[in-house]
């Protein structure tokens, strides 16, 4: 848990943003720590608005925002110097060649050796072969890779990617995830990824924030969240499953009991010391306990639980 001591990469306090009648962000509080951060949420949850506010594209109605410790309102230029961005549906100048475009980006970033940086970025995303072709001729996948390359030029401290896997085929997606992992592990570049694809987040991120209806509903490390939301389901293996399951179903703390092969899958109603309760019940019904362990769900399950809980609360 050493990660928690580190200063937050992104910090938002009481941030609100309204577009006409739509409240896009509602007194949002956010703290993201770690190396690869994931921002997930359903469509219209406020992900892109949040990223636009982080980068100064959109001004918030209220609240404080800090990125890498810098205040977005007062120190935006310092943030831009340290952050690479792949916006959602970016518009690159199509008359430029891939390498020509990246060279201009490198110069705007004030790099002293633009050609070297460009070559490295193109190599990292696998576009070296088509570097001299006009961007107009690029496929959707190449265009997205170019977006990743321009975000990586100059090796920024933090790279913000809004839907980085959009338009990519499964192999292309894997490549992007591989680039993220490599830059993060080998060069210490931090990433903030906003995406719908939970598998990508689960595979690459060490910290996630779940946003829905303009508020952060849950945040923490992937392990913590999975544990938190999976802690209510247990897998129990005993010598006489039928008898034990029947007795277990009668207890007040169990919500449901199911069978999975020879194991019992029990869902409890709240915080229960399941190990102690199981041992006691087993003694009463005279069965031997072989295994009691929590069932860890995927991030997909966590996400579903958080969003549906929010829907229940709002209705």
């Amino acid at each position: 848990m050493g990660l928690l001591i580190v200063e937050p990469v992104v910090e938002m306090k009481g941030v609100s943003k309204r577009f006409g009648r739509i409240l896009a962000l509602d007194s949002l509080n956010l703290e993201m720590r770690g190396k690869v951060l994931g921002l997930i949420g359903p469509n219209g949850a406020g992900k892109t608005t949040l990223i636009n506010i982080l980068l100064g594209y959109t001004k918030p109605d209220a609240g404080e925002i800090r990125v890498l410790g810098y205040d977005v309102k007062r120190e935006l230029m310092e943030i831009k110097k340290r952050v690479g961005v792949l916006p959602e549906k970016p518009g690159f100048p199509e008359s430029f060649s891939g390498s020509g475009f990246l060279t201009r980006v490198a110069r705007l970033r004030g790099l002293t050796n633009p050609e070297e940086q460009v070559t490295e970025s193109l190599k990292a995303v696998g576009l070296s072969q088509v570097a001299h072709r006009s961007i107009r001729t690029y496929s959707a996948g190449m265009y997205q890779r170019l977006g990743l390359a321009q975000a990586l030029v100059g090796e920024p401290e933090l790279v913000i990617l809004d839907e980085p896997a959009a338009n990519l085929d499964p192999l292309g997606r894997m490549d992007v995830l591989e680039v993220i992992s490599r830059f993060s592990e080998e060069r210490g570049v931090k990433f903030l990824i906003s995406t719908h694809i939970l598998y990508d987040v689960e595979r690459t991120c060490d910290w996630i924030s779940i946003i829905d209806a303009g508020k952060i509903r849950e945040q923490g490390s992937v392990e913590e969240l999975v544990q938190k939301y999976s802690g209510l389901t247990y897998r129990i293996v005993v010598s006489d499953p039928k008898t034990f399951a029947a007795e277990l179903a009668k207890t007040s703390y169990v919500r449901s009991v199911e069978f999975q092969d020879k194991a019992i899958i029990a869902t409890v109603k709240g915080k229960v010391n399941m190990y102690e309760e199981t041992m006691e019940l087993a003694k009463c019904v005279n069965v031997t306990v072989h295994e009691v362990r929590p069932v860890f769900d995927s991030l997909d399950e966590v996400f579903r639980a958080v969003v549906s809980r929010n829907e229940r609360e709002t209705t």
Binding site: K59, V83, P87, E88, K89, G91, F92, P93, R104
Partner: protein
């Protein structure tokens, strides 16, 4: 600091070049030069038709170049990409404005050059200073139109819609300020894009010749009309430009 502004201008010029500018230059040259080279006789045949015939072409070209740069830049999320690099909105605005202004001057400057070359070929002794006044006309018209167009585009954030609004504004003003509604002896008539830059040039031209004592002594443009026209075009353009600068720093790019 200057390097980034230069880089942004170069970026914008390269992007502008993707637009069929060469074709535009050729088209305008043909429209403008053919009537002149057919039978040129002097100022009336060269400068005046240029001012009158070019107004519509100038307005449309300026609207397209500036609208494409700002409006389409917002619509197609090119501006968002540009602003993700360490450059301020003000610098991006200044670079875009200067690059587009340069683009327009390159287009119409080429046309004027083609005109001059064609006159030279016909061995016509034409006072070169008239070209200076043509450029003055060009500058005044383009400066006002571009400032108005930039302001409208940033306000509506849409390319097509902003071109439409600009045309309604400019030609609506022309309609209300032209005879028989308003006559040339009324200063209000000079608050138009047709008469404003043209009368400023006529006054300057007369003043130039009078100062050098080499010709014309009278002009239908009085000093009051001249100041009204120049104030409208330059002052109005400057106010719209500053308003656009304010707007680009305030708008949400979502």
């Amino acid at each position: 600091m200057r390097g980034k502004l230069r880089e942004l201008i170069a970026w914008e010029l390269q992007d502008n070049w993707a637009f069929p500018i060469l074709e535009l230059v050729i088209a305008i040259t043909i429209i403008q030069v053919i009537p002149i080279v057919s039978l040129t006789r002097g100022y009336v045949e060269v400068a005046k038709p240029f001012f009158e015939a070019m107004l519509f072409i100038l307005v449309i070209s300026t609207a397209i170049v500036f609208g494409r740069s700002f409006g389409e830049g917002i619509e197609k999320r090119k501006l968002i990409v540009l602003l993700s690099y360490p450059v301020s909105r003000t610098r991006v605005f200044v670079a875009k404005y200067l690059a587009n202004l340069l683009t327009i001057f390159l287009i119409f400057g080429s046309v004027l050059l083609a005109e001059g070359v064609s006159l030279f070929m016909f061995d016509y002794r034409f006072p070169l200073v008239i070209w200076g006044f043509m450029f003055l006309y060009l500058f005044l018209t383009v400066f006002f139109t571009s400032s108005l167009m930039t302001f409208i585009t940033l306000a509506v954030k849409r390319f097509g819609l902003s071109v439409l609004i600009l045309l309604i504004c400019i030609f609506g003003m022309e309609y209300w300020l032209s005879p028989p509604r308003t006559y040339a002896n009324n200063p209000i008539a000079y608050l138009s894009l047709n008469l404003g830059p043209y009368s400023s040039v006529v006054y300057s031209y007369t003043w130039y010749y009078n100062t050098l004592n080499i010709g014309i002594g009278r002009s239908w443009v009085t000093q009051t009309f001249f100041l009204t026209a120049l104030g409208y075009v330059l002052g109005g353009g400057l106010i719209l430009l500053l308003a656009s600068l304010f707007l680009i720093n305030k708008i949400d790019l979502d």
